[in-house]
Symmetry: D2
Subunit: 157 residues, 4 copies
Amino acid sequence: MAPFIPKNPDFAARVRDSFNRQGAMVHIGARMTRIEPGFVDITVDYRPELSQQHGYFHGGIVGMIADSAGGYAAFSLMPADASVLTVEYKINLLAPSDGNRLVARGRVTKPGRTLSVCHVDVFVERDGREHLCATLLQTLMTMTGKSDGLASDKKAS
Amino acid sequence: MAPFIPKNPDFAARVRDSFNRQGAMVHIGARMTRIEPGFVDITVDYRPELSQQHGYFHGGIVGMIADSAGGYAAFSLMPADASVLTVEYKINLLAPSDGNRLVARGRVTKPGRTLSVCHVDVFVERDGREHLCATLLQTLMTMTGKSDGLASDKKAS
Amino acid sequence: MAPFIPKNPDFAARVRDSFNRQGAMVHIGARMTRIEPGFVDITVDYRPELSQQHGYFHGGIVGMIADSAGGYAAFSLMPADASVLTVEYKINLLAPSDGNRLVARGRVTKPGRTLSVCHVDVFVERDGREHLCATLLQTLMTMTGKSDGLASDKKAS
Amino acid sequence: MAPFIPKNPDFAARVRDSFNRQGAMVHIGARMTRIEPGFVDITVDYRPELSQQHGYFHGGIVGMIADSAGGYAAFSLMPADASVLTVEYKINLLAPSDGNRLVARGRVTKPGRTLSVCHVDVFVERDGREHLCATLLQTLMTMTGKSDGLASDKKAS
């Protein structure tokens, strides 16, 4: 497959900047560990606050970083004046997320002017090895002319 | 539609107990606001830690409480010795989650011995009214003979 | 829920006309049994040519009429110069499609200028009663200014 | 990725035999063009009976062969006394299916004792080249001890 050519040469700074403004990603301790045109990884280390009732990573955390990894993979290919919106996604949880770290690896399958489609695989690190624990298929929308910043009524004055 | 008959008369205590052991739900401040056979609501109030880059509720939070509401709706109909597992779900984000409170309303569409299917609608409260902001379709699995508690290697000694 | 107001007063003729030009729907013997703003039903009678290996309706037939019912439900609310496109759908097969007739009932959950979201329930008639056998959640796109007719290179000269 | 080891040495004959008993697949002229452990391709040539209103392949046909390709990929890894059931799938239609042939390429992502997960990519051949036109993510169930043949009440006497 041919590599993707980003429309915005500053895509990496723009992706990182948007990610850093997501309070929810900061709150769970997620960090962006890869930013390339069409490819974004998001990683989070285990903490008891991220658990479900058996003590593994909560499926909601898995879905949250998978959705973000795909969303930012799509965003990396969008023009400089655009914003990204998740239209929908489907996720299959393949195995218990039992381990000390989660990595969601998002890739663009089909970039489009209005809609993009991404696949994301999520791996859990356990005993020094990565195990596939979830896979996601997602539709994203390019919001042209929409700032990626805070809505005006959410800004501190 | 006929009301559902729970297999476990203590279903409400069992659902609430399992929910309370989910560190991730506590961490985001979610609470269970309805528990009936086949129906569970989960509510979370807005905090900046739950936001995405525009200041609205993060889609990951929407997905997380929707998945849990459907999962516990299915769990409410399962036998006393069973545990519940999310196999997969698909969620459509219908409108920005702009408001002061989210409510995910889960209902069982098809209970089954092995697999159950649920629908969940998520509403955001804004200006005293509920607005539909997401809808989810989900497959759950009954894990018979599997404790709902901590995995043995996750227990404090 | 408030009833939907169609943008095109001739929506019913337009929906029926588009449906009749779908060779695949004719080929399987499907017919449109309800056309209202935001609601479309598609019905197909059992024939051995529509079976899977156990002799029931093939899941592909279930998916095909469900996708069409949702697509035309969305199309019924679109402007007169627009065409409809299925972006994606997810379908859960809930029970064997064992019976003499299938009815897919599509309804619009969220109409939108660019994207619409529909739910569809599919019922199989057996012993004079309808049984829910599948449920679908779907995203559709409005293609403005795109004719609903044959692509120019597909027309007979 | 390690190759899959089939549990049933006669998997290819079993897959082909089941496929040939699907009236719906015969009806649309589909054929199986690859059978390997965990991988199945299904191909169908263009005919006007398989079209939607623009003259391209109908999305329902795309979904139908994609579902079957994934289902038989999963079935190829199942024990000799098992039958396969599609639990659910999600499909994204990525581009118009404009061409003279469709090929659905199914592969098993996660085989399981009870549930398996497959990915399927669908390509349309146009001007001698394959173009990706759809992608599917699917959950299948192993039905142990259930014959793959006709239900007893569907057999000719």
